[in-house]
């Protein structure tokens, strides 16, 4: 498919229950995507880039659910990944570093973004959650939970695996 030359299912990724997850990798992202990433960062300058270069090998869901090995593009898979991996909802008061945050678009209810919690509101003076996440095929960023393009019109759900 043109536009990013993604390789579909180059490796096998499964849920804990053994269901195959459809993944992709884009080894050579288009050069103009660097511009896109820089521009996204310019909108949220307080976000700290965690990686130097953009990568098409994984996206935000790939960071959270596939250990940075591949991108999970079909977000319809996210609800059953959460279910089959055994993620349970946690409240903000119960939040711990290592929990995950999933952003749902309030209109389409799609999981538009996911992130890994690194600081809870109790851990900083700003009283906000801080996360590490990857912005699509761009770079990884450390940012406040609402300091990204995905936070507009989003419902955020925190989850944790207990066992």
């Amino acid at each position: 498919v043109l536009l990013d030359q993604a390789h579909i299912n180059p490796i096998a990724v499964e849920t804990r229950a053994g269901t195959l997850i459809k993944v992709s990798q884009t080894p050579k992202p288009e050069p103009c995507f660097i511009l896109g990433d820089l521009s996204a960062h310019a909108l949220f300058p307080m976000a700290e880039p965690r990686t130097e270069k953009i990568s098409g090998f994984y996206n935000c869901h790939g960071l959270v659910f596939a250990a940075r090995r591949a991108a999970i593009d079909e977000t319809k898979q996210i609800p059953w990944i959460l279910k089959e991996d055994g993620y349970e909802v946690v409240t903000l008061d119960e939040l711990q570093p290592g929990d995950i945050a999933v952003y749902y678009d309030e209109r389409s209810n799609e999981a538009t973004h996911s992130a890994m919690v690194i600081e809870t509101p109790k851990m900083n003076l700003m009283r906000v959650t801080r996360v590490v996440s990857k912005w699509g095929n761009g770079r990884e960023y450390v940012h406040r939970i609402n300091e990204c393009t995905y936070a507009a019109n989003a419902r955020i759900e925190y989850r944790r695996i207990y066992t």
Binding site: L3, P29, F33, L35, S39, A40, D105, T112
Partner: protein
């Protein structure tokens, strides 16, 4: 005729790079300045003709493909209303998320843009945003 080079690439590239879903890509691009300017400065007919002309050349570089998406997004908010069926004549199936994009465009053609300011990343940045501690939702408060 719209010159491809006149279509700003930056917002389209940002929308595409950061998108994890085709709807996100469409939504951000539709509410971008790029689409707004295209829709204001050109008629729906000239945008449609430009899409067909560029698409017919079967571009392979993102620099030429992304403007097509921007123009399709612009077509959903032109001052002169377009028939939703116009999107049936635009074939973006060669491109990733192309079919979904056209489907969304068809659904959103000529709907109002009152959510623009909330959706547009450029304006949705809320430096004074605070996080609600009473539930899992984000409460955005816009400072002056």
């Amino acid at each position: 005729m719209i010159q491809l080079t006149s279509v700003q690439l930056q917002e389209a590239a940002t929308a595409y790079v950061t998108a994890n879903t085709p709807f996100f890509f469409f939504d951000r691009l539709r509410n971008s300045e790029t689409a707004a300017i295209l829709a204001q400065q050109h008629t729906s007919e000239s945008i449609f003709q430009a899409i067909r002309a560029v698409n017919a050349t079967e571009p392979t570089e993102a620099e030429r493909i992304l403007p097509i998406f921007a123009m399709v997004a612009a077509l959903t908010r032109t001052r002169t209303p377009v028939s939703a069926t116009i999107f049936d004549d635009i074939d973006l199936s060669r491109y990733r998320w192309g079919e979904d994009f056209c489907r969304f465009a068809k659904n959103y053609a000529n709907t109002d843009n009152r959510l623009d300011i909330q959706i547009m990343p450029k304006f949705s940045y809320a430096p004074y945003a605070s996080e609600s501690t009473t539930n899992n939702r984000i409460a955005l408060s816009y400072g002056s």
